[in-house]
Structures are given as structure tokens and as C-alpha cells.
Amino acid sequence: MHLRLAAAVTAGRLATMMSRHLGVGGGTTAPGHLVRALYPAATASIAARLPQGSVLVTGTNGKTTTSRMISSVLRKAGLQVLHNRSGANLISGIASALVNGSTISGRPKADVGLFEVDEAAFPAAVAELRPRLCVLTNLFRDQLDRYGEVDFLWGLWHETLSALPESSTVLLNADDPRVAELGTDLACRVLHYGIEDESIGGSALAHASDSRFCLRCGAAYQYRAVFYSHLGHYHCPSCGAVRPQPFLRAAGCQLGVHGSRVRVEWPSGNMSVEVRVPGLYNVYNALAAVGVGVAMELEPETIQSGLSDFAAAFGRVEQVDIRGRRLFLALVKNPVGFNEVLSTILRDPGEKAMMIVINDLFADGTDVSWLWDVDFEMLAGRVLFVVASGLRAHDMAVRLKYAGVEPSRILVEAASAAALDRALEATPDGGTLYLLPTYTAMLEVRKLLVDAGHLSPFWED
């Protein structure tokens, strides 16, 4: 037995147990830091012993949901999956997951690793985990204060993917021009997924700021169909560059408020799948999960059935019954995700009861300027009330006022417990309260709900 590795694993697992026992956290990242301090090669050593290797998922939006969908599919296929399920997706979080999922000697108690990975941590994760399959969902501007510029990130990703061996596969979103372009000049197998059904798209970009520019010649892409933000069927009118034909495509989509039905096709097969979370962005997440199943040559029925088993991930979209009302909880992190959540909520007619909680801590993004890139204008005339809460409650209230929401319907209550009480009281009996928090606000709200017995703690999810 490698003693140093064993010591690191033991220390990590003790730290995890203590963390949870003392109630100081979920033990999902601190143990990882400890392990890496004691034995830096721990992550690579353990991951190398996964019989079926690892699958990594990165991108701006959809990492956690896509990973959970993939997990559902892999487990349906009878595989034991080692997965950083709670969403701790920096190297420390991955290390924690590996340590807690292996024996003292560092042998993983699973067949395959599945890790959602933070965009900036992706290069290091690939180097240490040497994955068999990488999924890249999309690339948006998110938390600019952390990542600096998108172009820089693209460059890092391309360099990382170029180093993958022929035996690895990358699965790329064909509808996102920047992600699709990552597939050029790679040694490994490259597969794309995308939506073919143009009937569910629009004919033009909603915002000039969604414009994307040809990576080869700099001209603005033109779109035959736009699905959301800058995702769609694009081509360059100047040099002829065009969206690649996807290996896996959504040939037909029926979108609903509770979920979608998608007809999926690939060269050697086709099937209809049920996506049990709403919104077009979840159709993409499901396509990626199906793509992983097909790339790993799982049976179509298994993939279909695994996807049907999927229930919404911790905090991303959850529904809870509380005090005679329904609470719909959806995490918001950036303009694109927020717009999709708002569109989904507004799909059903009527005025909505809402609570939006905006924090500006490191994990939320310290610059709240991004709120001005969200189309809150779609809420004008559609809200019963909005309780604006969190550390930046006032910023949120001002945004709503300028979006055309009647000031008398905007209530400011910075403390989340008081805000939740007020919002639930104001929601009609039997009605739904839509609660949209940023990341750390989600943790706070969840804690309130867990303490009151309405939800299970996230690491048990």
C-alpha cells in the first residue's frame, strides 16, 4: 500500500466526517485541499484506477444538470459512478469526491468517474484525470471578474483538448459557435450535438450583444435559426464557415412548462426521450447526456430510461410544498440562464409571485452589473409582486423599476428569512412562489428550508 496516499485519503475522509458532524459544511471542498496538501498526486493516482476512466463536463451553463442526467443514465446501465454530485467543481471538490469514494489504499469504489468541472479548472482537471470523454456545453460570459475574458478561456480549452489522445472523445455543442470551433485540429474523436428542429427557434438574435464573430475571419455570424442567446444555426457570410452537422441531433422538440419531449437521432439509431425539467436549455443538457450514452455505446433503451429517472439537481430547479403554497426554486447565475428561467416561468399565463435574492460574494460574482444584461423587461405587467432580497436587494429593486415593473409591486427585504416569510404570506393560497437566488443565496435559502424540515441536506441528494 502506498502509505502517503493512504494517509492523505484517511485524513480527507476524517475531515469530511467531522465537517458534516460539526455542521460546518458539506465536507465537499475542504477535505480536498487537505488531501492535495498532503499528497499532490492523490487525485491523479485514484482517478487512474477507475476501470472505465472518467467523464468530465464543463461549460458556462448546465454543468450540474447535465452531469446529473449523465449519472442517471450511467447508473441505469449498471455502472457504479463516482461523481462530485453536490456540484463542488474546483480541483479541491473533485479531490474530495475521489477521496470519499475510494478505499484507504486509494482504490476507487466505482467503475467510472463523472465530474462536473469549473471552466477555469478544466485544464488542470484534464491533466490530472486523463478523461476518456469531455463534454463542453456552452460558453457565455459569466462572472467576468473571475475568468477575465472569454477568449482567454477559449484558448486554454483548445490547448487542453489538443493534448487529448486519440482514444479520448470530446462531445461539443454544435449550436454554440465558440464551442463547436474547439473541435478543429484535435487528435481525439470529436462528436457534436445540436438541435435540428428550427421551428422552435426564432429568426434573429434577441440582442445585438448576443452577436458572435467568425473565429476565422471576424465577420458577424448570420443565423437561419436562433434557439437562445447566441445558440442556433449560424454561418459566416464572409468566409463560408458554418455550424458543423451534429452527430447527435434533436430532430423534433415539444416544449412544456414541466418538461419536454425530444426526438433524438444519430447515425445508427433514434428514439424519443422525456426531459423532466423545463426549458430549452434543459433540452441541450439532455442531448449532451444522450450523447455521452451513445458515445459510450450504451443501449438506447437504457439511455432513455435513465433520462426518465432524472429528477432536478440540488438547487438548480426544485419544487417544494410549503405552508400551503408551492415553492419553485431555480438558481440564477448569469444573464442567459436567468432569461431562460424567466421565459420558462412566464410560459403559463397569469401574474407571478416572485422573490429574487441577489448576493455579491465571490461565488456569486462580485460585480452585479450583469443584472442589466438580463431581460427583466419581460416581467412588466406579469408580476403580482417581487420581493427583492440579498446583499444587493436594492440593486435588484432598481433594476426591476427600470424594467417597467410597477414600483408598488417591488418589495425590498434584504434578509432572506424575513423575505421568505413575507413572500410566502403574500402568495395566494395554493399558488406558486418563484424563488430565484444566486449561488450563496441559494445555500442560505436551502438551509432555511432544511432546518424547517422541508428539504433534505444537499450532500444526501
Binding site: G148, T366, V368, W372
Partner: protein
């Protein structure tokens, strides 16, 4: 009455939520019964200084700034200078502000020419200046404050004749060295404040709108006050937060 807001390069220079400034100008006009139209001016589009009442120029990424600089110099420079000399109201943020200066010098010593509207120049710095900012304005002698959020690695220095928008109470400002933030020339303003800038600083939004109204409709024009309780509460809330936390800065690029 009507005001036309010319938005420069909305598809290329649109980072960090700066369109909130456009939204604020439009709403504050409409709430007073003043019609407001936004005209996008991209690469190749000329600027008609007789048609513009307010010009807005936001921030962007390095690659986009290169494309824009060329267009600015060759197509729009003359009209922008003429517009500002006549007292036209102009607001530029971050990248836009830098390009309206004399030049930008990169890490490798390369010079990117600006149009010299502001007697200021920018050099690439080695650390990123990120965090909430509090400024005390002295360009109009009022001593009123501005709150915002900065995120830039460029360091801007002002020429001896160039007035800053204000003094830094908390944050880095133009260069983290001399305590100045922004630049002013007539009714043209440039600064590093995102946030967006205008929503939480309604007095400054009105300053721009009034300047535009007077240029078009005569010096006798005045603005009806609006109920800014929410905006001022937001301003105060951020100012207090800055006071409690100091800068939130990560410092390293």
C-alpha cells in the same frame, strides 16, 4: 420633445452590463414625457452630430477594441470631436473611455491610437483593478458621489490640462496611484465605473439628460424631478457596503 441616444458599437462593446446606462437614460426621459430613441452605430456607420443628443460608448474585450479603434479613427472621429465641441453630452465607460483618450500602450509596448478627445492615455498594468468604487465628483463643484464597480487592468493618466471626473474615496480609479477617477471635457465624460453607472447615480443621469435637452431646446430647459428614493437607497446601500468591506479586490490578473 425628443432626445436621440446614439449607442456606439452595441454588438462589440457591450461587456459588463453597460446597456443599463442606455436603459436608464431612456426611462428617465420617458418618465418625464420626453421621447427617447436609441440609434445603434456600428462599424462603418457615420455619426451625424446634428441628429445625436447623447452618445454612449461602452466597454469591450481586447480583440473587439482593436476593430473598433480603427473604425473610430477613420469614420467617426471628426463627428465625435465636433459633437463634443458643441457641448454634446457623451458618456464612455472603460474600453470606450480608453479609446477616446490619446492612446493605449500594451504590455509589449505596442501603441493603439485613440482619438484624443480626452487628454489622457492608458498603459497596460500588471494587476487587475476589481471592486466596488466610491467617487466624489468635483467637475461641477457639487461634491456629489458616484458608486460603481471597476474591472480593468489598464491604468489611465491624465494630461495636465485634463480634469478628472472626481476623486477616489474607495477603489483604484484611473490608475490606483493619483487618486483620480475618470476624465471630463465639456459635457463628455469617461470613467471606469460599471454597475451599471447611471441607475444608482440618478443625479448624473439627469446631468447628461439636461445637458442634451439644453443643447437641442435652449438654455431655459429644466428637468422635472423624479422620485429617486429607490435609486438613492441603492446608492447608499453600496456606499455603506464599501465602507464596511473596503475594496473587494482580487488584485492579480
Amino acid at each position: 420633445m425628443k432626445l436621440t441616444i446614439c449607442h456606439l458599437y452595441p454588438d462589440l462593446m457591450n461587456i459588463y452590463g453597460d446597456r443599463g446606462n442606455i436603459i436608464t437614460l431612456v426611462q428617465r426621459c420617458r418618465w418625464r414625457g420626453i421621447e427617447a430613441e436609441v440609434v445603434p452605430l456600428g462599424l462603418g456607420d457615420p455619426l451625424d452630430q446634428d441628429r445625436c443628443d447623447v452618445v454612449f460608448f461602452g466597454g469591450g474585450q481586447d480583440k473587439e477594441q482593436l476593430l473598433v479603434a480603427e473604425d473610430l479613427r477613420t469614420i467617426k472621429a471628426g463627428a465625435i470631436h465636433a459633437f463634443v465641441e458643441e457641448g454634446g453630452a457623451l458618456l464612455s465607460i472603460c474600453g470606450g473611455y480608453q479609446l477616446l483618450g490619446r492612446y493605449f500602450r500594451t504590455h509589449t509596448g505596442e501603441i493603439l491610437e485613440g482619438i484624443g478627445l480626452f487628454d489622457a492615455w492608458t498603459v497596460a498594468g500588471s494587476r487587475r483593478c476589481i471592486g466596488n468604487v466610491l467617487i466624489r465628483c468635483d467637475f461641477d463643484g457639487s461634491g456629489r458621489t458616484l458608486v460603481g464597480f471597476e474591472n480593468h487592468s489598464g491604468k489611465t493618466y491624465l494630461g495636465s490640462g485634463c480634469r478628472p471626473m472626481g476623486r477616489v474615496l474607495s477603489g483604484f480609479g484611473n490608475n490606483g496611484e493619483d487618486g483620480t477617477e475618470g476624465a471630463v471635457y465639456r459635457n463628455a465624460f469617461g470613467c471606469y465605473l460599471h454597475g451599471s453607472l447611471l441607475p444608482k447615480n440618478p443625479w448624473f443621469a439627469d446631468h447628461l439628460i439636461l445637458a442634451a435637452l439644453r443643447r437641442r431646446y435652449g438654455e431655459g430647459q429644466d428637468l422635472a424631478p423624479l422620485d429617486d428614493a429607490l435609486e438613492n437607497a441603492a446608492h447608499e446601500s453600496v456606499a455603506q457596503r464599501i465602507g464596511r468591506l473596503g475594496r473587494i479586490d482580487s488584485g492579480v490578473i
